[in-house]
Symmetry: C2
Subunit: 128 residues, 2 copies
């Protein structure tokens, strides 16, 4: 099997995963990016810049993103006492609860995909 074919399968599968995430997110009024933010903040808090870097977004993009999530009661901001320029972001209980609910769904929906995941299946059969 050619590398190109593996890459193509990888890309197709990634789009499929994104589609699933987008759909599940939409059912809870969450964009793909918001979903990601919830995923990242599930087990830790982070400063704005850190979050932006992790997501590959401009910090200005994150301001609006966090604004909306904060207004919705999912996230909260807090000035970092050690460096008062820094703004830490973290999830509210409502945010955590929503994230948990969504991620249970994501796992449930994607689990079946694994069985027919082309790349895995092919490589599994004929390992390098």
């Amino acid at each position: 099997m050619s590398t190109d074919a593996v890459v193509d399968a990888l890309v197709r599968t990634s789009f499929e995963v994104m589609g699933t995430l987008t759909r599940i997110g939409a059912e809870h009024d969450l964009s793909l990016t918001q979903l990601r933010v919830l995923g990242i903040l599930r087990d830790r808090r982070a400063r704005m810049t850190e979050l932006a870097a992790y997501l590959g977004l401009d910090k200005s993009t994150l301001s609006g993103l966090v604004d909306r999530a904060e207004k919705r009661g999912l996230l909260a901001r807090e000035k970092n006492p050690d460096d008062r320029r820094v703004v830490d972001v973290f999830m509210t209980p409502a945010g955590s609860e929503l994230a948990d609910r969504v991620y249970v769904e994501v796992r449930r929906e994607l689990a079946p995909l694994i069985d027919q995941f082309e790349v895995i299946r092919l490589l599994d059969r004929d390992p390098r």
Copy 2:
């Protein structure tokens, strides 16, 4: 290895793939969606609705998308003679050329990823 861990790896990898595609696309002034359209139309023409369904987008979204790509000379529209309601979309030579260039890059950038693709590596080592 738990299914949850595989799903998590799948999601992380998918985001990584999307990041790469987004970056390469941006270098050519193409959004992720435009990239996908080019990918789909590489070997065939398609009607608007068909394309929208395939991408999971509303048909109204596609109008604007195709508008911009057409204005840029990458895509062209044509009324379908068999059913004059239908609009077929296809790539111009310029579009094909760009698509080819971009997809070469994509393959080149993603090929290395395959070697360290967690899901594969893990399943490869310990097949179901």
